[in-house]
């Protein structure tokens, strides 16, 4: 079993709602990114998701698109993201998960990616543009290197797809809360209850909800219907809206307030 799965099962056993923090690698700069990951772990995030910048991020809204472009302009790509993780993983206690569009992984080679990611200390991967039907070319390779392969289910996935995907997912099931791109709009508890019920009917793997979770109150509301929340665009926005050296402070304070709301 992967480190990620150990962590997520243990969180559930303790009755703790999981908080997953997403950051775009190399944004706003390399030092600030490292500080963000450390601050998130210190402020109560249970998993950190590292987004690999890509030229054509079709599943992302304006905030992550802009961060991705800014990081790319600084030369941050998959290799640099893995270097950052290699630097951070020995000192950060929480699991680190890579989110990457598939093309940079294909360019490197799926085997090489799995090997290098494992060596860097990556615990799992989320590939948002690999449909379940295509996952056979990736899942066994990543698992073989000891990485969790995290699947996504969507509001449009019907009962049988949701169940099949949820059963396959390692560590947690990434529940996309809304039809849309990241950071677009808030999803209510009602919107995710149906999906969560379908996931829970299929597996005891925890269900974490992402896309459109942007405030402590929203996180608490969504977490009351699920096992945890994933926050991305709001953190990236906070990281980018002031000086880079203080990004970790801004984001750490925000995550601490989310942690309090989840624990209340």
């Amino acid at each position: 079993m992967s480190t990620l799965a150990d962590t997520t099962r243990a969180l559930r056993a303790r009755g703790r709602k999981a908080l997953v923090a997403y950051f775009t690698a190399g944004y706003p700069d390399d030092d600030a990114f490292d500080a963000l990951v450390r601050a998130a772990a210190g402020a109560g995030a249970d998993v950190v998701e590292v987004g690999v910048p890509f030229s054509d991020p079709i599943a992302d809204g304006p905030v992550i698109q802009a961060a991705s472009n800014a990081a790319l302009a600084r030369g941050v790509t998959l290799a640099r993201a893995l270097e950052s993780i290699a630097r951070l993983s020995p000192e950060v206690a929480v699991p680190l998960v890579v989110m990457s569009y598939v093309n940079p992984i294909l360019r490197l080679g799926v085997d090489a990616f799995a090997r290098e990611a494992a060596r860097a200390g990556v615990d799992g991967a989320v590939l948002p543009d690999v449909a379940f039907e295509e996952s056979g070319a990736f899942r066994p390779v990543l698992r073989g290197a000891g990485l969790a392969y995290v699947d996504l289910v969507a509001p449009t996935s019907d009962d049988s797809r949701t169940k099949e995907i949820a059963r396959a997912s390692d560590g947690f099931v990434y529940v996309v809360s809304i039809t849309g791109v990241t950071g677009a709009r808030a999803a209510g508890r009602n919107a995710v209850e149906g999906i969560i019920a379908r996931v829970r009917a299929a597996t005891d793997t925890p269900a974490y909800v992402g896309f459109g979770v942007s405030t402590p109150d929203a996180a608490a509301e969504i977490a009351s219907a699920s096992d945890g929340v994933i926050i991305g665009s709001r953190l990236v926005q906070l990281a980018g809206e002031g000086p880079a050296p203080s990004a970790a402070g801004r984001v750490g304070d925000f995550l601490a307030s989310v942690r309090r709301a989840l624990d209340a």
């Binding site: 890509f54 030229s55 054509d56 991020p57 079709i58 599943a59 809204g61 698109q65 472009n69 790319l72 790509t77 998959l78 290799a79 569009y101 598939v102 093309n103 940079p104 992984i105 294909l106 360019r107 490197l108 948002p128 543009d129 690999v130 449909a131 379940f132 039907e133 295509e134 056979g136 070319a137 699947d151 996504l152 289910v153 969507a154 509001p155 449009t156 996935s157 019907d158 797809r161 995907i165 996309v176 039809t179 849309g180 791109v181 677009a184």
Partner: protein, 387 residues
């Protein structure tokens, strides 16, 4: 096992949110193909609304300008309603959208021909329509922007990335993923996730079916060569599909651009994933997609349809490059010799013919060129640049 492959190419590289819609589209298309009423409505619209069949025309003066006396026929897709082959696919996909009870259409457009065709069928079927177009392309193809607005479509300028077709496609996918329950995405070329490359090819294959029969009638034989420009590749597959098993040379012509870059995806690219399919792609060593360049907005795209990637590797189609200047020269040549203003995209195919058939006379060269669209839209773009 992944589905919808042409050899190694194709597949479905999209967020899960879109997968149920792709499965729905695949099922709707399968049932439509088996439904005689669907086929007869499509045929009727193609005949009475689009104006099919389009003629093949022996371009005698253009032919005479070539050194080797090849006889060059033009498949006149420029004569279709809206002025390009794009409408063939849009009529078919609008019928599919209606069948799936989707009342809103979205589309990407580069040259604007696909945007105009989508806006046209939206008007015809009483559907809502939003077209995404890069800012750069809106400036260089402004007549088509005005046409889309006249037809009642909303045209959204795309300001991200390259501000051309690639990023217009990204924005269209983002709209689709947001509104997928009510919206059908009419992809304009043989690109994107399965089943789009197959559906678009099938709706465009009417070009090749007509042309093959017309050539047999006009010449009593098949052409020796068939030539088409390739951006995403729909007009090329539309005409090639009828000749794949014949002893006919097939030439796909990509945009060789200028010193500023090119859009020669098959000639210079490597396999990867863009916009939902595994296919050749212009990309860097890190797997980031490279910007394309072409004077022809419809070819200015760093990807290509997966079936073309398969046909390239199989050696069945030979892919060539034509640069901006040669395309402009061919544009001027056809306009002045034949009184036909070709789209800059189609001018790339004509430029290849001018180059390839300029050698010593050889017997029996009968060349069929897909004149995929008309060039009225390019009057501004070519201003001051023609030889």
């Amino acid at each position: 096992m992944s589905r919808g492959r042409f050899g190694a190419y194709g597949g479905q590289f999209v967020p899960e949110t879109l997968m149920p819609s792709l499965l729905e589209l695949e099922a709707a298309y399968a049932s439509a193909r088996a439904d005689a009423a669907f086929q007869s409505e499509l045929d009727s619209l193609l005949a009475r609304y689009v104006g099919r069949p389009t003629p093949v025309y022996l371009a005698s003066r253009f032919s005479a300008s070539l050194a080797n006396e090849a006889r060059v026929y033009l498949k006149r897709e420029d004569l279709n309603h809206t002025g390009a082959h794009k409408i063939n696919n849009c009529v078919g996909q609008a019928l599919l959208a209606r069948r799936m009870d989707k009342r809103r259409l979205v589309a990407e457009t580069g040259a604007g021909q696909h945007g105009v065709a989508t806006a046209t069928v939206a008007a015809l079927f009483g559907m809502e329509c939003t077209v995404y177009m890069g800012e750069v392309d809106m400036a260089r193809q402004s007549p088509n922007v005005r046409r889309m607005k006249l037809l009642g479509a909303t045209v959204v300028p795309v300001t991200s990335g390259t501000r051309t077709l690639k990023d217009a496609t990204n924005e269209t996918i983002r709209d689709w993923v947001t509104n997928v329950r009510t919206t059908h995405y009419i992809i304009g070329s043989t690109v994107g996730p399965h089943p789009y490359p197959t559906i678009v090819r099938d709706f465009q294959s009417v070009i090749g079916r007509e042309a093959r029969a017309q050539m047999l009638e006009a010449e009593g034989r098949l052409p020796s060569d068939v030539v088409a420009c390739v951006g995403g590749g729909s007009n090329a597959l539309g005409i090639f599909s009828a000749f794949l098993t014949d002893d006919v040379r097939l030439h796909g012509v990509e945009a060789g651009g200028s010193r500023d870059g090119d859009a020669a995806t098959l000639s210079r690219g490597t396999p990867g994933v863009l916009h939902g399919a595994f296919s050749y792609l212009l990309q860097d060593d890190d797997g980031q997609v490279s910007p394309a360049h072409s004077i022809a907005a419809g070819l200015d795209y760093p990807g290509v349809g997966p079936e073309h990637s398969f046909l390239k590797d199989a050696g069945r189609v030979s892919y060539q490059r034509v640069n901006d200047d040669d395309a402009l020269a061919a544009f001027a040549s056809l306009a002045r010799l034949e009184g036909i203003i070709p789209a800059l995209e189609s001018a790339h195919a004509l430029a290849f013919v001018r180059r390839a058939f300029s050698g010593a006379p050889s017997e029996g060269r009968v060349v069929l060129v897909n004149l995929s669209g008309r060039g009225d839209k390019d009057a501004d773009a070519v201003e001051g640049r023609l030889p």
